[in-house]
Every structure is written in C-alpha cells, then in structure tokens.
C-alpha cells in the first residue's frame, strides 16, 4: 500500500487559492514535472519561504479552511505530487481541488477546527511529520518529542479512488 505523508508543511491561513499554489503563468507547461520549481511561489505568509528546505522537503500539508479555492486547474495537486506531497489536511476544501486530489490518487483530508489546531501545535517542531493510513482512516503526527494519532472521515468513494490510484483507472475498469 502506498505511503501517505512525510515532513509536514504548515500553511496557517484560510482561503489559500490555486493562483497561490501555482500561478496561472505556469499553466503553459505541458508536463507535470515542469511545474516542480514553482510550488507555492506566490503564497505570501509570515515566516513562509516557498524556496526553503521545509517547503521542498515536505510530504504533507496542514492548512485551514477552503483550501484550493479558485480555478479548476489540476496543476495545483500536480505541483504537490511532483514535489512528493501526497496528502493535504485542512478544515475544508474547495470542491474542485478536493476532487482533483482524489482523482489523482492523493488524499485531501478534512478535520474539525479543534483537530486542525492540535496539528498546528506541532508547527514549531522542525521535525514535525505526518503519516496517513488511508485504508484505516487514521493519521499520526510526530515532532518535538511528541506524538499523537487521530481518526478522520473520508467518503467510501474517495477512499476507493485513492486505493485505485485515481479516477481514470477506476472509471476505465467500471464504465
């Protein structure tokens, strides 16, 4: 089973939009790999540096409400995918972004605000990392000598997409 997660990147703001995840000027790239250097390039957050080790070494993103709002561009999940980030955990997502994540076989996990706060309590730890077990709907966060696990809810269809490796394979075998 594919492993989900890795070093955690904390993006502490709601309504982070697809232009901030990958600016429109890079939509002219025609391979996913070409998007790699532009991850979160236009995102302005105190203490956040798109070019830092922490950004590029991340395997999971933790953020707030309405993540991925704006355009339908699947370049947003792709820029995560090609940089080794295959899970985004948020209080809520914009519908198209959320669907794009599952359609690519990646996980978009929604948690209530208190659990998101709990995850953010690890933001100060340089070694904060998250591991997600999609089949069992559990995630574990470690860092700064602490560790805890929590359950999450994911719709059976979304889980099936992740386990199938995405919507194209799923749909092609079924319809």
């Amino acid at each position: 089973m594919k492993k989900f997660g890795g070093p955690a990147l904390f993006l502490d703001r709601s309504d982070i939009n697809t232009d901030e995840i990958i600016p429109a000027k890079y939509l002219t790239e025609i391979t996913k790999e070409d998007l790699k250097p532009y991850l979160l390039e236009d995102l302005k957050l105190p203490g956040f540096d798109p070019k830092s080790e922490r950004t590029y070494g991340a395997g999971a993103v933790v953020t707030r409400a309405n993540f991925g709002c704006g355009s339908s561009r699947e370049h947003a999940p792709w820029v995560f995918e090609v940089n080794g980030i295959n899970v985004v955990i948020a209080q809520s997502f914009a519908r198209i972004f959320r669907q794009n994540m599952f359609n690519c076989g990646m996980a978009a996990i929604e948690l209530p605000p208190e659990k998101i706060d709990q995850l953010f309590s690890y933001a100060g730890a340089a070694d904060a990392a998250i591991e997600v077990d999609v089949a069992n709907s559990t995630l574990t966060i470690k860092g700064g000598g602490r560790e805890e696990s929590m359950q999450f809810e994911i719709s059976p269809f979304d889980k099936a997409l992740v386990l199938a490796g995405g919507w194209v394979d799923y749909a092609d075998s079924k319809y």
């Binding site: 600016p23 025609i30 339908s72 561009r73």
Partner: protein, 427 residues
C-alpha cells in the same frame, strides 16, 4: 417532497451510484479549452486510449491565450487543434471563430435546459443560466468525460437565492452577484448549487443570468442555476425551432426542469435589491465587497472590459452609453475584449467599437488573456485594475497586481475619471 432543478437533472442522468452519496452522471456536453485539455490528451495517448466517447458531444475552443503568445502556448493550441481534427470534432473553434468559452458555447446554442455540462474550467457554472447542471472540473475528470462521457459528483444540496424588488438605475447583474457573494462568503456554497430566482431574475436577459451564474464558483458553488422560462426559449429559439411546434410548447417542455414548489432547499435567502448601489471589491477575495460610494476615488491604472462574466453585447452597450463622446483619463489604460467574434461584429455594427476607440480604449480580439494574467493586458507589480472579470486574487491579472471587480458601467465611469467612480452620475 418535490425536487429542485439539480435533483431532477441528477435523477435523469444517473448512470451509477457506486457508494451512497456518490452519483456518476452521464454528461451531455463536455467542453474543452487549450489550457486544461492538452495534459488530458497526452495522458490518454500515453495510456493507449486516445479516443472520445462521442465527438458530437465534445466542444472545443482555443480561447485562453489566442493568438498564441509564445512557443509554449502555440504548442498547447496545436495539441488541442490536432486532437480535434484527429477525432473529427466539428464544434471546434480556432482563430477567427474563437471566443471566451463560456460566452461562445451558449451563443452557439450548445446548452439546453436539463443538460449536464462539464469543462476543465471553474467558471463552467455559467451555463447553469439555461437550467442546466454545469460544473467546472479538473483535468482528470475532463479526461474521463472525454473517454467515457461520465463524471462523479456528490449530490449537491441547493441554496435558493431570491432576488426581490427591482434593480435601481446604474445597478446590474454584476452588482447583484457581488452582493450575493458578500452574503454567502467565498465558501458559503461549497458542495452546493446556487439557484437564482425571484422577480429580478425573472426579468433578466440570458446574458445577465449568465453573469449571475458565472460567479457561483466565487462562493464555492458547484453550479449556478436559473429556471428555464420564456426568456431561455427566446434565446435558444434559432437552435430549437425545428424541435417544437411553438415557443409555448418549448416553454412547457422545459418547465419539467423547474424546481417544484415544495422542493427542499438547504437554505433560502431573500434579498431585496431595490436599494442596492453599484458595488466593487476592495481586497483579494471576491466576498470583500463595498458600495462604490465608499470606494470612489481609489486610484486605477487600467480598466478592463471583457471576460466570460461581462464581455457580452449588453455589457458593451452599457459601457458605451457612458463613454459616448467622452475621453478616458490620460493616466488610465482602457482595454476592451469583446467575448466572442459575434459580439465583436455586432458591436461594430452598432457603432459601439467606434465609441470605445474614440474614448481611447484599446480593442483586442476575443480572448481570456488579461483576465487570468496570461496575455493582452497583464499588470505590472503594484498596479491596480478596475475589471469586469470575476476573480480578484492577489496577482490574478499579473504578479503583484490588484484587481477591483465591478460592473461594465462602473468600469466605464472609472475609466473616464481615472479612479473608481460611480456610474450613476453618467446615466
């Protein structure tokens, strides 16, 4: 219990329900443009599945950057063009015939009440103005749509918005939708359809209804929807006159898609807009809306009139009425991009283009261009644009640039004064 328009369309298009709450729908219209489709094409080719489920149900256009501005955009256009030829997609629109997708496809009569519509573009919700379920999707959903003609959705709940009263002078559909988004906030309609009704919507043209539905996504909505009625039939008549004995017959047939009186809504919001003033966004989110009274005087470097929100003929008419015999401020760059070639031709015939040019506007070909900061009017760092488009994210029209969303009338008044301005004094 009665059903909403969206529920009726879902029930009529259901192909599979693999899990409770997930509906796989048959899709009537799959629309494609050159930014999000080429990667789907490349992936289908790599999988050895370069096929289309039905070449009459696929519509394609090169619209985002056209004419191509560099070799990368030329390659994207070529990929779409070659694919359309390879699969004999008749409804493919290239240079000379191309315009902004969400203005062009309705104009061609492709969208009918009760249809399911998807496109790899978030503003696909526009087409709900015809009483259709129209949703923006990503490239993978688009790819499956092209290959299989299906798409999966969580069945959305419906938010009903009643626009009551009458719109005052100088206030338009754009002001109404900005008011609605201000009310709902940027994620107030996530996983919801926004159904627009009430006397103001009943009295609106199809163009104005498209402006409303276009921005449903800015509140997170899956689709905007307006009930199909006499106005819808009048608009579609050139395309459907062979199928119906009379317009009354068409209205009667399409009425089956109208929400039932006892339909259950997630929420019903009544807004009386009789006292609404022209509105304008002030921040980097489309729900950050203020009255033009508060915003007037804020500096502007560029005024942009166009896009799938407000680049239609009625928008050009309103702006031209204000600009007639006037000059735009010397400190401002005015750019007009009529949304389709037909709109452009009609605007020439009506003398509107002459008015814009005499006022000092640059008139470009139909394209998305500046709306998403790709070509034909990109902002420099720190510049401000008064724009009839739909999205004001930081950098949307160019890195470091700021966008104020407003109506074509407010855009025209702002061009004259070189700063945000109230259009009512020019009407």
């Amino acid at each position: 219990m009665g059903m909403t328009t969206a529920q009726k369309i879902f029930a009529a298009h259901l192909v599979d329900e693999p899990f409770a709450g997930t509906k796989v729908l048959g899709i009537d219209v799959v629309m494609c443009h050159e930014i999000t489709t080429p990667i789907a094409i490349a992936d289908l080719m790599a999988r050895g599945k370069d096929r289309v489920f039905d070449n009459t149900k696929i519509k394609a256009v090169i619209d985002h950057v056209t004419p191509s501005k560099d070799s990368k955009t030329a390659t994207q256009a070529k990929m779409l063009r070659d694919w359309a030829r390879r699969h004999d997609i008749k409804d493919f629109f290239d240079i000379g015939a191309n315009g902004v997708c969400h203005a062009l496809f309705p104009e061609k009569g492709f969208i009918r009440p009760g249809n399911t519509v998807i496109m790899g573009d978030s503003h696909t919700c526009t087409h709900g103005a015809f009483g259709a379920f129209a949703a923006g999707v990503g490239t993978t959903d688009l790819e499956v749509g092209i290959l299989k003609g299906v798409c999966a959705f969580r069945e959305p709940k419906t938010i009903r918005i009643n626009l009551n009263g009458t719109l005052p002078k100088g206030v338009y559909a754009k002001d109404a939708i900005l008011r609605v988004i201000g009310e709902l906030t940027v994620n107030g309609a996530t996983d919801r359809v926004i159904e627009f009704g009430g006397p103001i919507v009943d009295a609106m043209t199809m163009e104005s209804r498209m402006t409303l539905c276009n921005m449903a996504i800015e509140a997170g909505g899956t689709s905007g929807i307006c009930a199909p009625d006499r106005v819808t039939v009048e608009y579609l008549w050139p395309f459907i006159s062979d199928s119906f004995a009379s317009k009354e017959a068409a209205v009667a047939e399409y009425s089956k898609w109208v929400s039932d009186a006892d339909a259950e809504y997630d929420k019903v919001i009544d807004l009386d807009l009789s006292d609404l003033t022209p509105l304008c966004t002030f921040g980097y989110k489309p729900d950050q809306v203020k009255s033009i009274d508060e915003m007037a005087g804020a500096p502007v470097d560029q005024v942009y009139l166009g896009s799938c929100t407000n680049g239609r003929l009625e928008d050009l008419r309103v702006a031209a009425q204000i600009l007639k015999g006037k000059k735009i401020a010397p400190t401002v760059r005015g750019i007009l991009s009529p949304a389709t070639p037909q709109i452009y031709k009609d605007a020439v015939a009506e003398g509107l283009i002459q008015i814009f040019m005499d006022a000092g506007f640059c008139v470009t070909n139909p394209t998305c261009g500046a709306c998403l900061g790709m070509s034909n009017g990109v902002l420099a760092e720190g510049e401000v644009c008064a724009s009839t488009t739909n999205r004001n994210f930081m950098g949307r029209m160019g890195k470091g640039g700021m966008v104020h969303l407003l109506s074509p009338a407010t855009a025209a008044a702002s061009a004259i004064e070189g700063k945000l301005a109230d259009p009512r004094k020019y009407l």
